[in-house]
């Protein structure tokens, strides 16, 4: 789908916030796609990490809002190991999650988790999952 890039859609404040929280310069990305080719979640994300980087470069906060990529990212760090520009993409994904979570919008509601589903989970699954998906 065509993406309108204009004064109406560019959110510069949000773009600067993402760079501040992540500590990463998104303009370093040259769109080589190595991250997209390395992502283990490629089949299940709405947009590849490469596309996410392009959308941030163009300040497309609204478009990114509808994509599941930051929430399916497992912070496995395969992309950062292979990034030709040395960008720490998991930090960018964390920043994208945090802009939501810090508005008190949880991605997973702990009280909705079914006891039978979580009873066997190791603590590190609960702690890491709730760290990534709740505020």
């Amino acid at each position: 789908m065509p993406q309108e890039i204009s004064d109406k859609t560019i959110n510069d404040r949000w773009r600067r916030r993402i760079m501040e929280i992540s500590g990463e310069n998104v303009y370093q990305c040259m769109q080589c796609g190595t991250c997209a080719a390395s992502c283990p979640m490629a089949d299940d994300i709405d947009a590849s990490p490469r596309k996410v980087m392009a959308l941030i470069q163009f300040g497309q906060a609204e478009a990114l809002d509808h994509l599941n990529t930051p929430w399916v990212c497992a912070s496995c760090h395969m992309c950062v190991v292979r990034c030709t520009r040395g960008i720490d993409l998991p930090r960018v994904m964390e920043a994208l999650r945090l802009t939501k979570l810090r508005d008190n919008v949880d991605h997973v509601e702990p009280s909705n988790l079914q006891p039978e589903e979580v009873v066997d989970l190791p603590q590190i699954a609960m702690v890491s999952g709730l760290r990534k998906f709740t505020s």
Binding site: E20, I21, S22, G23, P40, M41, D43, D44, W71, V72, A74, S75, C76, H77, M78, V80, V81, R82, D88, P90, R91, M93, E94, A95, L98, H107, V108, L113, E117, V118, D120, L121, P122, Q123, I124, A125, M126, V127, S128, G129, L130, R131, K132, F133
Partner: protein, 293 residues
């Protein structure tokens, strides 16, 4: 070297087979250590936000506890604990500004400067103990066991705390070689099992894990060796769901690397805690006659 052993939450409950077998190995290898008498959760994941220091308090506090015991080395068994503690330690050593803020915030604690060494049992065995010495201690060589080493993410990524080359690690391969097993290399050896997505997107995690298991068996593995309780959960405990859901899925015995070490060292079978694995794990070792009782 004075070693403080940091267990972490999961090892005391859901991953007793990792802790119990590791402690039996440490004893069999005559390695002296002290378990930290007081510790807290490390946080499981390292904070990736530049402005988030509060989540560093937990791991740094653990490091201070180890320092208080007079340790120079913190030994970990869980890959996620290793990653979180090692990254926090590195930040405290290298980032003067953040170190200052954290030390000031924890005013009741002594200042910490990142001067401990945080190791995982695997790199401790390689660098401090030595594969040759491990080989000497092996009483029951795992000859003929076709085991695939599975690294997961947090042992070898990011590279700042990697126990080996992030793109082509060999540490678990070398470990299995030292035990006499036949190491089966496979492409997914460093791929993510789905980790905490078991909470947010359980179906995605299940698919990831099934992909890893089928890749390993395709390359001739009859078992998987790993180091992380969350990998063990995704790849091991969820196998019933995979067998039900995916056509062609087969049972794959999963071992903590410490359990295979314990068996090879001739540790009493009860201390290997194979009773906490899927039944296929013990059956395989009995078939191979590594365990006879």
């Amino acid at each position: 070297m004075k070693i403080s052993y940091y267990p972490g939450c999961t090892l005391k409950t859901k991953a007793r087979n990792l802790e119990d077998s590791a402690l039996a190995c440490l004893k069999a290898l005559d390695i002296e250590f002290e378990e930290l008498p007081r510790w807290n959760c490390c946080g499981a994941v390292y904070s990736l936000a530049d402005d988030d220091l509060i989540h560093l308090i937990a791991p740094v506090r653990d490091l201070i506890r180890a320092k208080e015991r007079g340790a120079d080395t913190v030994l970990t068994l869980c890959s996620m604990c290793y990653n979180t503690l090692a990254r926090a330690n590195k930040l405290m050593a290298e980032d003067e500004e953040k170190r200052g803020t954290i030390n000031q915030f924890m005013d009741e604690e002594p200042d910490y400067f990142g001067d401990l060494k945080v190791v995982h049992f695997l790199d401790f065995l390689r660098d401090d103990y030595g594969w040759d010495k491990v080989k000497e201690k092996v009483k029951v060589p795992l000859t003929g066991l076709k085991a695939a080493p599975y690294y997961g993410c947090t042992l070898t990524r990011p590279k700042e705390v990697a126990v080996d080359r992030p793109d082509k690690p060999t540490i678990l391969h070398d470990f299995l070689d030292a035990l006499g097993a036949t190491t089966v290399d496979f492409p997914s050896t460093i791929e993510c099992c789905g980790t905490y997505q078991v909470l947010g997107n359980p179906e995605v995690a299940l698919k990831r894990s099934q992909g890893i298991l089928s890749d390993a068996t395709l390359h001739g593995a009859e078992a998987l060796a790993l180091a992380c309780p969350l990998c063990d959960f995704n790849l091991g405990r969820r196998q019933d769901q995979m067998l039900e859901k995916f056509e062609g899925a087969t049972e794959v015995p999963i071992f903590y690397f410490t359990q295979l070490l314990a068996v090879a060292l001739g540790v009493a079978p009860d201390d290997c805690r194979l009773d906490l694995n899927r039944p296929s794990a013990l059956s395989l070792l009995k078939d191979k006659q590594f365990i006879t009782v």
